[in-house]
Symmetry: C2
Subunit: 430 residues, 2 copies
Amino acid sequence: MKKPLRIAVVGLGTVGGGVLKILETHKEMISVRAGREIQIMAVSASNKTKSRDFDISSYEWVDNAAELGLADNIDLVVELVGGSDGIAKVVAENTLKAGKSFVTANKALIAHHGAYLAGLASDNKVALRYEAAVAGGIPIIKSIGEGLAGNKITKVYGIMNGTTNYMLSQMERTGRSYDEILEETEQLGYLESDPSLDLDGIDAAHKLAILSSVAFGVKTDFENVYVEGIREITTRDIEYAGELGYRIKLLGITTYEKGKLKQRVHPAFVALDEPVAAVMDGFNAIAVQGDGADKCFFQGRGAGEGPTASAVVADLIDIARGHMDEAFFVPASKLVPAQPVSMTDHLSSYYIKLHVAEAAGVIADITAALKNEDVSLDQMHQKGSEEDGSVYVVLVTHEVLESSLHKALKEINNLPVNLNDAFAIRIENL
Amino acid sequence: MKKPLRIAVVGLGTVGGGVLKILETHKEMISVRAGREIQIMAVSASNKTKSRDFDISSYEWVDNAAELGLADNIDLVVELVGGSDGIAKVVAENTLKAGKSFVTANKALIAHHGAYLAGLASDNKVALRYEAAVAGGIPIIKSIGEGLAGNKITKVYGIMNGTTNYMLSQMERTGRSYDEILEETEQLGYLESDPSLDLDGIDAAHKLAILSSVAFGVKTDFENVYVEGIREITTRDIEYAGELGYRIKLLGITTYEKGKLKQRVHPAFVALDEPVAAVMDGFNAIAVQGDGADKCFFQGRGAGEGPTASAVVADLIDIARGHMDEAFFVPASKLVPAQPVSMTDHLSSYYIKLHVAEAAGVIADITAALKNEDVSLDQMHQKGSEEDGSVYVVLVTHEVLESSLHKALKEINNLPVNLNDAFAIRIENL
């Protein structure tokens, strides 16, 4: 058997602990699979003496994580701290520059610095792996970069944030408001320490930017991901969606056509017979459209100790087996600069919810505003009056230019009868 | 860039043609991904002059495929002939023994000779790869053997035969009989040339035996897969399943517990909210239960030129990248002999359909027969009378030993009031 792969682990939170536990519990199984032992040499975290449900006394403790990559007795560093910059980036740079492989679950780091770090790994002939950064337990990075490597991939989409999917599921099930469900979700500890990462779609955007690079061979371009979160979704929208045969999901969607990259994260109406529509609670799901395999759909747990830690361990086994592939499965030097497409020219049909003081005459005004901007309607539903006499009107448009829709919405919002700004959600034909 | 990977392709049917087309159309993309060119040197098939929708004139034609692995200018042979023995096996043996890698889409070959061929590959330090043999375009072999390598896997199940899934879907949708749908399916060309492979579950059993080896590290043991096909399923069963909240699927299920392997392929009642229940038509779907990732679910096209050929090409890219892993992801010498478990002690709840001449008194007799064998009932539904006055009775049992159920059914079948033998389908709690 070959020499052990000697690793250090930085960050001993839930995932870090999970990795240590799997490596110890499944030591024998992993050695057989990897063809060599994976040996934990050193660990590092912000607090050495913190109470933990796993034992770190048999590993060397290193105070300064930045030095780990430089140690002679370490072949690979696992980073589980998180954050796009700070210590995570320092550890990544030091490790790769020292000619050692680097494994991480850090989506922000890869989304922001993926192409740069891939270049460092390539120059130093070592591996940079991040399976756990996207969709937790689902081996989606390997599936796209290796399993579907015989395909030209044109589209990747799915549910990439389990927390917001849980919230939307709970709003639908219980009929309780966004604010109530948000509070409950916070109490369950499901939210990131900065809730905006979940609620505003940023976490999903990180993952989407990574998937774009893996699927299309473009440089990671997080800055140009179009992002809308779920803060404005109400139970009323969820109810109306159901009546129309849809379910609201926060989707990440990336497409690559004629050298143009369109990356977007936003709530979407998804037809109920679409596989992603059936994905509830904390689950993630990703669909990949290839020219050979057609659509391939993956579903699993997107977060949590076991799913994330087992993905990290899979990366370790891969490297122990000698798979030293390029980080994005093409030479880093051949990653193409992304040419982002603006959403202005995006075509989509829309759900529009209006809340008006009274129905009389308003339909004519709305129709006129839409007609002015060439927005043609597929459906219009005037809902029964609310207790205060106000009325909700639901519109479904045909396919329309994003820019035209925004102009039409502006006109509609200026109608004096409007109680709230019109709220629009894209209807995705997946 | 490294030297080209020089390959030969044996078998120029739909899949063989698909492989040649992808390698030519995506030559540049594949070279970038693989880090080297994949060059087609020679082809072989039973008929050189047959009319084909792809051009083979630029490749060397070899009449005797058995010699391909011996040629000095060939690094790897792709076998797309099919069949567990015959020329496919000869080509595999010759190629591996000559120290060259072997790629196949041949599930029968791997199901019957997997452990033996893995040993040959291991001894000769070459690769044996068969991603296309299971679930077509879904990269399930790589996902289990590499992507989920950080998990101890305890169960793999799913829909592994698209043809029978298409037939069951069509029976449900149209209400037309098994025989009518079978004829239509045959006309569409969806059936294997030996239809028994599809209809009797043998094709699914081949795939299941392969998945067992990949997931559990046991020697392929096709002989001990318990198999029932779909020939006895009627539209009435499908309708009754729906009424009870289930859908009938032909499932492959393999579990490994305490060193015991239980492999089975049979129709099953699947709860409608289970992801596999929503998989219709020709699609395949496979779920993998791991101790870290929990349940991971994969869905895609299980057959056809594009899905199968792109999976073959993924194997070629993998080998071109230098991934020379063991065929079943552990050293062939460490594959454990399978210890099959008989179905006699299998525990399951059951759907039972009875067709009796008249209802009067029969319920008491049936209940007595079940009680004699300790089969306890969860539900009993006496359906309305048929035109001829006969009656269908549907029973749902609690969990019961397979052996007890068979004894009870035998007693019930001996009741004079019975018009047909009782028909039972397992209800799977997935």
